[in-house]
Protein backbone atom coordinates (compact mmCIF):
# COMPACT_ATOMS: atom_id res chain seq x y z
CA UNK A 1 0.00 0.00 0.00
CA UNK A 2 1.87 3.07 -1.22
CA UNK A 3 -0.57 5.79 -0.19
CA UNK A 4 -1.32 4.78 3.37
CA UNK A 5 -3.86 7.04 5.06
CA UNK A 6 -2.45 9.35 7.73
CA UNK A 7 -3.42 9.06 11.41
CA UNK A 8 -5.62 12.11 11.05
CA UNK A 9 -7.36 10.63 8.03
CA UNK A 10 -7.98 7.36 9.91
CA UNK A 11 -9.49 9.26 12.84
CA UNK A 12 -11.66 11.45 10.61
CA UNK A 13 -12.83 8.48 8.54
CA UNK A 14 -13.95 6.48 11.55
CA UNK A 15 -15.51 9.59 13.03
CA UNK A 16 -17.47 9.97 9.79
CA UNK A 17 -18.60 6.32 10.02
CA UNK A 18 -19.71 6.76 13.63
CA UNK A 19 -21.70 9.93 12.96
CA UNK A 20 -23.32 8.50 9.84
CA UNK A 21 -24.58 5.51 11.81
CA UNK A 22 -27.11 7.61 13.73
CA UNK A 23 -29.99 5.12 13.98
CA UNK A 24 -27.79 2.06 13.52
CA UNK A 25 -26.31 0.10 10.62
CA UNK A 26 -22.68 0.57 11.58
CA UNK A 27 -21.49 -2.46 9.55
CA UNK A 28 -23.18 -1.19 6.42
CA UNK A 29 -21.74 2.28 6.95
CA UNK A 30 -18.27 0.82 7.45
CA UNK A 31 -18.50 -0.92 4.08
CA UNK A 32 -19.95 2.18 2.43
CA UNK A 33 -16.98 4.26 3.59
CA UNK A 34 -14.05 1.79 3.74
CA UNK A 35 -14.77 -0.27 0.60
CA UNK A 36 -16.81 2.00 -1.69
CA UNK A 37 -15.74 5.54 -0.86
CA UNK A 38 -12.12 5.17 0.28
CA UNK A 39 -11.25 1.91 -1.49
CA UNK A 40 -9.01 0.94 1.42
CA UNK A 41 -9.94 -2.73 1.10
CA UNK A 42 -11.75 -5.16 -1.20
CA UNK A 43 -15.13 -6.67 -0.32
CA UNK A 44 -13.59 -10.09 0.43
CA UNK A 45 -11.04 -8.72 2.88
CA UNK A 46 -13.66 -6.48 4.47
CA UNK A 47 -16.21 -9.27 4.94
CA UNK A 48 -13.74 -11.71 6.44
CA UNK A 49 -12.45 -8.97 8.76
CA UNK A 50 -16.02 -8.25 9.88
CA UNK A 51 -16.58 -11.87 10.84
CA UNK A 52 -13.22 -12.17 12.59
CA UNK A 53 -14.04 -9.03 14.55
CA UNK A 54 -17.35 -10.62 15.54
CA UNK A 55 -15.73 -13.82 16.75
CA UNK A 56 -13.10 -12.04 18.84
CA UNK A 57 -14.27 -10.54 22.14
CA UNK A 58 -15.12 -6.85 22.21
CA UNK A 59 -17.50 -4.56 20.34
CA UNK A 60 -17.46 -5.54 16.67
CA UNK A 61 -17.03 -2.01 15.38
CA UNK A 62 -14.27 -1.10 17.80
CA UNK A 63 -12.50 -4.28 16.74
CA UNK A 64 -12.87 -3.38 13.07
CA UNK A 65 -11.40 0.06 13.75
CA UNK A 66 -8.42 -1.61 15.47
CA UNK A 67 -8.03 -4.02 12.55
CA UNK A 68 -8.06 -1.30 9.88
CA UNK A 69 -5.88 1.03 11.95
CA UNK A 70 -3.24 -1.67 12.50
CA UNK A 71 -3.32 -2.60 8.82
CA UNK A 72 -2.24 0.88 7.76
CA UNK A 73 -0.40 2.43 10.71
CA UNK A 74 0.24 -0.15 13.44
CA UNK A 75 -0.67 0.65 17.03
CA UNK A 76 -0.87 4.44 16.52
CA UNK A 77 -3.25 3.76 13.63
CA UNK A 78 -5.43 1.57 15.85
CA UNK A 79 -5.56 4.27 18.54
CA UNK A 80 -6.40 6.98 15.98
CA UNK A 81 -9.18 4.87 14.44
CA UNK A 82 -10.74 3.94 17.78
CA UNK A 83 -10.45 7.53 19.00
CA UNK A 84 -12.19 8.78 15.87
CA UNK A 85 -14.91 6.14 16.14
CA UNK A 86 -15.74 6.71 19.79
CA UNK A 87 -15.00 10.32 20.76
CA UNK A 88 -18.17 12.05 19.60
CA UNK A 89 -20.52 9.14 20.42
CA UNK A 90 -19.03 8.97 23.95
CA UNK A 91 -19.52 12.71 24.47
CA UNK A 92 -23.08 12.49 23.14
CA UNK A 93 -23.90 9.53 25.38
CA UNK A 94 -22.43 11.42 28.36
CA UNK A 95 -24.75 14.36 27.69
CA UNK A 96 -27.70 11.96 27.40
CA UNK A 97 -26.63 10.22 30.63
CA UNK A 98 -26.49 13.57 32.40
CA UNK A 99 -29.99 14.50 31.26
CA UNK A 100 -31.34 11.06 32.05
CA UNK A 101 -30.01 10.80 35.61
CA UNK A 102 -30.65 14.49 36.37
CA UNK A 103 -34.15 14.88 34.95
CA UNK A 104 -35.22 11.24 34.43
CA UNK A 105 -36.07 11.87 30.83
CA UNK A 106 -34.34 11.87 27.50
CA UNK A 107 -34.46 14.80 25.06
CA UNK A 108 -37.29 13.98 22.67
CA UNK A 109 -35.64 12.46 19.65
CA UNK A 110 -37.59 9.20 19.61
CA UNK A 111 -39.45 9.91 16.35
CA UNK A 112 -36.32 10.96 14.45
CA UNK A 113 -34.55 7.82 15.67
CA UNK A 114 -37.40 5.61 14.52
CA UNK A 115 -37.22 6.97 11.00
CA UNK A 116 -33.45 6.85 10.91
CA UNK A 117 -33.50 3.28 12.21
CA UNK A 118 -35.79 2.24 9.34
CA UNK A 119 -33.27 3.68 6.86
CA UNK A 120 -30.38 2.03 8.72
CA UNK A 121 -32.05 -1.36 8.34
CA UNK A 122 -32.48 -0.55 4.65
CA UNK A 123 -28.80 0.28 4.27
CA UNK A 124 -27.93 -3.01 5.95
CA UNK A 125 -30.28 -4.90 3.59
CA UNK A 126 -28.77 -3.17 0.56
CA UNK A 127 -25.34 -4.28 1.77
CA UNK A 128 -26.65 -7.86 1.80
CA UNK A 129 -27.85 -7.43 -1.79
CA UNK A 130 -24.65 -5.78 -3.05
CA UNK A 131 -22.14 -8.09 -1.38
CA UNK A 132 -24.38 -11.10 -1.99
CA UNK A 133 -24.26 -10.49 -5.74
CA UNK A 134 -20.49 -10.88 -5.60
CA UNK A 135 -20.02 -13.83 -3.29
CA UNK A 136 -23.19 -15.90 -3.66
CA UNK A 137 -22.52 -17.43 -7.08
CA UNK A 138 -23.06 -21.20 -6.80
CA UNK A 139 -25.00 -23.66 -4.70
CA UNK A 140 -22.60 -24.04 -1.75
CA UNK A 141 -22.27 -20.34 -0.87
CA UNK A 142 -26.04 -19.86 -1.14
CA UNK A 143 -26.60 -22.81 1.21
CA UNK A 144 -24.04 -21.43 3.68
CA UNK A 145 -25.73 -18.01 3.51
CA UNK A 146 -29.20 -19.46 4.11
CA UNK A 147 -28.04 -21.81 6.87
CA UNK A 148 -26.35 -19.08 8.92
CA UNK A 149 -29.29 -16.72 8.44
CA UNK A 150 -31.70 -19.40 9.62
CA UNK A 151 -29.61 -20.45 12.63
CA UNK A 152 -28.56 -16.98 13.80
CA UNK A 153 -31.47 -14.81 12.66
CA UNK A 154 -34.54 -17.05 12.98
CA UNK A 155 -33.71 -19.75 15.53
CA UNK A 156 -31.37 -17.29 17.33
CA UNK A 157 -28.49 -19.66 18.01
CA UNK A 158 -25.48 -17.88 19.53
CA UNK A 159 -22.87 -16.77 17.01
CA UNK A 160 -20.25 -19.22 18.22
CA UNK A 161 -22.59 -22.20 17.87
CA UNK A 162 -23.51 -21.17 14.30
CA UNK A 163 -19.91 -20.73 13.28
CA UNK A 164 -18.54 -23.85 14.92
CA UNK A 165 -21.04 -25.77 12.81
CA UNK A 166 -20.74 -23.87 9.52
CA UNK A 167 -17.23 -22.36 9.44
CA UNK A 168 -15.47 -25.75 8.98
CA UNK A 169 -17.79 -26.53 6.04
CA UNK A 170 -17.10 -23.09 4.54
CA UNK A 171 -13.33 -23.53 4.92
CA UNK A 172 -13.33 -26.98 3.33
CA UNK A 173 -15.32 -25.59 0.41
CA UNK A 174 -13.10 -22.52 0.01
CA UNK A 175 -9.67 -24.12 0.54
CA UNK A 176 -7.53 -23.47 -2.57
CA UNK A 177 -7.44 -26.61 -4.70
CA UNK A 178 -3.92 -27.94 -5.28
CA UNK A 179 -3.13 -29.09 -8.76
CA UNK A 180 -2.55 -32.82 -8.90
CA UNK A 181 1.10 -33.63 -9.71
Amino acid sequence: MSDRPSLLELALTFNHIAIASFGGGLSAWSREVLVIEKRWMEDEEFLSAVTMCRILPGANQVNLAVFVGVKFRGIPGALASVFGLTLIPVLLVLVLAYFYFQYHEIPAVAGILKGAAAAAVALTLSMVVKTGRKCLGGVVPVLLFLAVFLLNGIIRWPLLACLSLLAPLALVWAWPKEKQP
Binding site: G24, E44, A59, V82, T86, A118, A119, L159, C162, P176
Partner: protein, 175 residues
Protein backbone atom coordinates in the same frame (compact mmCIF):
# COMPACT_ATOMS: atom_id res chain seq x y z
CA UNK B 1 -12.76 11.30 43.40
CA UNK B 2 -13.67 7.86 44.60
CA UNK B 3 -10.62 5.76 43.77
CA UNK B 4 -11.81 2.34 45.03
CA UNK B 5 -15.00 2.81 42.98
CA UNK B 6 -12.98 3.71 39.89
CA UNK B 7 -10.87 0.58 40.34
CA UNK B 8 -14.06 -1.47 40.65
CA UNK B 9 -15.35 0.09 37.42
CA UNK B 10 -12.08 -0.62 35.64
CA UNK B 11 -11.86 -4.24 36.80
CA UNK B 12 -15.48 -5.02 36.00
CA UNK B 13 -15.44 -3.67 32.45
CA UNK B 14 -12.00 -4.90 31.50
CA UNK B 15 -12.99 -8.42 32.52
CA UNK B 16 -16.29 -8.09 30.62
CA UNK B 17 -14.30 -6.90 27.61
CA UNK B 18 -12.37 -10.13 27.36
CA UNK B 19 -15.51 -12.20 27.98
CA UNK B 20 -17.58 -10.49 25.29
CA UNK B 21 -17.04 -13.08 22.59
CA UNK B 22 -19.45 -12.43 19.74
CA UNK B 23 -19.94 -8.72 20.52
CA UNK B 24 -20.53 -6.38 23.43
CA UNK B 25 -24.17 -7.34 23.88
CA UNK B 26 -23.31 -10.92 24.84
CA UNK B 27 -22.12 -9.80 28.29
CA UNK B 28 -25.21 -7.70 29.07
CA UNK B 29 -26.65 -10.31 31.49
CA UNK B 30 -23.38 -10.45 33.43
CA UNK B 31 -23.08 -6.64 33.34
CA UNK B 32 -26.60 -6.38 34.75
CA UNK B 33 -25.87 -8.94 37.47
CA UNK B 34 -22.80 -7.04 38.66
CA UNK B 35 -23.79 -3.38 38.19
CA UNK B 36 -27.37 -3.74 39.42
CA UNK B 37 -27.27 -6.80 41.67
CA UNK B 38 -23.83 -6.75 43.33
CA UNK B 39 -22.74 -3.10 43.24
CA UNK B 40 -26.13 -1.32 43.21
CA UNK B 41 -24.79 1.39 40.92
CA UNK B 42 -28.16 1.71 39.24
CA UNK B 43 -31.65 0.22 39.42
CA UNK B 44 -33.20 -2.38 37.15
CA UNK B 45 -35.30 0.26 35.37
CA UNK B 46 -32.31 2.55 34.91
CA UNK B 47 -30.32 -0.30 33.40
CA UNK B 48 -33.07 -0.97 30.85
CA UNK B 49 -33.33 2.74 30.05
CA UNK B 50 -29.61 3.36 29.57
CA UNK B 51 -29.50 0.27 27.35
CA UNK B 52 -32.21 1.73 25.11
CA UNK B 53 -30.46 5.11 25.00
CA UNK B 54 -27.07 3.60 24.14
CA UNK B 55 -28.58 1.51 21.33
CA UNK B 56 -30.16 4.53 19.69
CA UNK B 57 -27.09 6.73 19.91
CA UNK B 58 -24.60 6.65 17.01
CA UNK B 59 -21.35 4.74 17.35
CA UNK B 60 -20.45 1.33 18.74
CA UNK B 61 -23.13 -0.52 20.69
CA UNK B 62 -21.07 -0.93 23.88
CA UNK B 63 -21.55 2.68 24.95
CA UNK B 64 -23.97 1.49 27.62
CA UNK B 65 -20.80 1.08 29.72
CA UNK B 66 -20.13 4.82 29.40
CA UNK B 67 -23.48 5.55 31.03
CA UNK B 68 -23.03 2.93 33.76
CA UNK B 69 -19.53 4.25 34.47
CA UNK B 70 -20.97 7.76 34.67
CA UNK B 71 -23.60 6.70 37.20
CA UNK B 72 -21.04 4.75 39.25
CA UNK B 73 -18.23 7.31 39.38
CA UNK B 74 -19.05 10.48 37.44
CA UNK B 75 -17.41 11.71 34.24
CA UNK B 76 -14.07 10.09 35.11
CA UNK B 77 -15.92 6.84 35.73
CA UNK B 78 -17.52 7.15 32.29
CA UNK B 79 -14.13 7.41 30.58
CA UNK B 80 -12.57 4.68 32.73
CA UNK B 81 -15.45 2.31 31.90
CA UNK B 82 -15.25 3.05 28.17
CA UNK B 83 -11.49 2.58 27.97
CA UNK B 84 -11.56 -0.54 30.15
CA UNK B 85 -14.19 -2.06 27.84
CA UNK B 86 -11.95 -1.54 24.79
CA UNK B 87 -8.35 -2.26 25.82
CA UNK B 88 -8.21 -6.04 26.47
CA UNK B 89 -10.30 -6.93 23.41
CA UNK B 90 -8.42 -4.37 21.33
CA UNK B 91 -5.06 -5.92 22.24
CA UNK B 92 -6.32 -9.31 21.13
CA UNK B 93 -7.52 -7.90 17.79
CA UNK B 94 -4.11 -6.27 17.39
CA UNK B 95 -2.32 -9.60 17.81
CA UNK B 96 -4.68 -11.41 15.47
CA UNK B 97 -4.45 -8.74 12.78
CA UNK B 98 -0.62 -8.88 12.88
CA UNK B 99 -0.76 -12.63 12.29
CA UNK B 100 -3.35 -12.01 9.59
CA UNK B 101 -1.14 -9.53 7.73
CA UNK B 102 1.77 -11.96 7.86
CA UNK B 103 -0.36 -14.77 6.46
CA UNK B 104 -1.17 -12.71 3.36
CA UNK B 105 -0.52 -15.44 0.78
CA UNK B 106 -1.27 -18.53 2.84
CA UNK B 107 -4.01 -20.92 1.68
CA UNK B 108 -5.65 -20.59 5.11
CA UNK B 109 -6.19 -16.85 4.64
CA UNK B 110 -7.50 -17.36 1.10
CA UNK B 111 -9.92 -20.00 2.42
CA UNK B 112 -11.12 -17.72 5.25
CA UNK B 113 -11.66 -14.76 2.91
CA UNK B 114 -13.59 -16.81 0.37
CA UNK B 115 -15.40 -19.12 2.80
CA UNK B 116 -16.42 -16.52 5.38
CA UNK B 117 -17.90 -14.14 2.79
CA UNK B 118 -21.24 -15.97 2.38
CA UNK B 119 -21.40 -16.55 6.15
CA UNK B 120 -20.83 -12.87 6.85
CA UNK B 121 -23.50 -11.81 4.38
CA UNK B 122 -25.90 -14.25 6.08
CA UNK B 123 -25.03 -12.89 9.53
CA UNK B 124 -25.57 -9.32 8.35
CA UNK B 125 -28.92 -10.31 6.89
CA UNK B 126 -29.77 -11.80 10.30
CA UNK B 127 -28.69 -8.60 12.05
CA UNK B 128 -30.95 -6.52 9.78
CA UNK B 129 -33.85 -8.69 10.91
CA UNK B 130 -32.87 -8.37 14.57
CA UNK B 131 -32.42 -4.59 14.23
CA UNK B 132 -35.92 -4.12 12.85
CA UNK B 133 -37.36 -6.31 15.61
CA UNK B 134 -35.45 -4.37 18.29
CA UNK B 135 -36.70 -1.05 16.88
CA UNK B 136 -40.25 -2.41 17.23
CA UNK B 137 -41.13 -1.63 13.64
CA UNK B 138 -44.75 -1.19 12.59
CA UNK B 139 -45.93 -1.54 8.98
CA UNK B 140 -45.11 2.10 8.18
CA UNK B 141 -41.49 1.51 9.19
CA UNK B 142 -41.35 -1.62 7.01
CA UNK B 143 -42.66 0.38 4.03
CA UNK B 144 -40.05 3.06 4.71
CA UNK B 145 -37.35 0.38 4.98
CA UNK B 146 -38.51 -1.14 1.67
CA UNK B 147 -38.41 2.19 -0.15
CA UNK B 148 -34.99 3.06 1.27
CA UNK B 149 -33.60 -0.37 0.37
CA UNK B 150 -34.79 0.13 -3.20
CA UNK B 151 -33.12 3.56 -3.32
CA UNK B 152 -29.84 2.22 -1.89
CA UNK B 153 -29.74 -0.71 -4.33
CA UNK B 154 -30.65 1.15 -7.50
CA UNK B 155 -29.32 4.70 -7.16
CA UNK B 156 -26.12 6.41 -6.14
CA UNK B 157 -27.81 8.92 -3.82
CA UNK B 158 -25.66 9.57 -0.73
CA UNK B 159 -27.01 7.33 2.08
CA UNK B 160 -26.62 10.16 4.62
CA UNK B 161 -29.23 12.14 2.70
CA UNK B 162 -31.65 9.18 2.72
CA UNK B 163 -31.15 8.57 6.47
CA UNK B 164 -31.74 12.28 7.14
CA UNK B 165 -34.97 12.28 5.13
CA UNK B 166 -36.10 9.11 6.92
CA UNK B 167 -35.31 10.77 10.26
CA UNK B 168 -37.38 13.79 9.19
CA UNK B 169 -40.29 11.51 8.24
CA UNK B 170 -39.95 9.94 11.70
CA UNK B 171 -39.93 13.38 13.31
CA UNK B 172 -43.20 14.15 11.54
CA UNK B 173 -44.58 11.08 13.32
CA UNK B 174 -45.32 9.04 10.19
CA UNK B 175 -43.49 5.86 11.25
Amino acid sequence: MNLPRLIQVFLLFSSLSILSIGGGNTVLPEMHRKAVGDYHWLTDKQFADVFAISQAAPGPSILIVTMIGYKAAGVVGAFVATIAMMIPAGLLVYLVSRIWERAKDSPARKAVEKGFAPLTVGLIFASALIMSKAADHGWQAFVLTGICTFIFCTTKINPIFVVAVAGFIGWLGWV
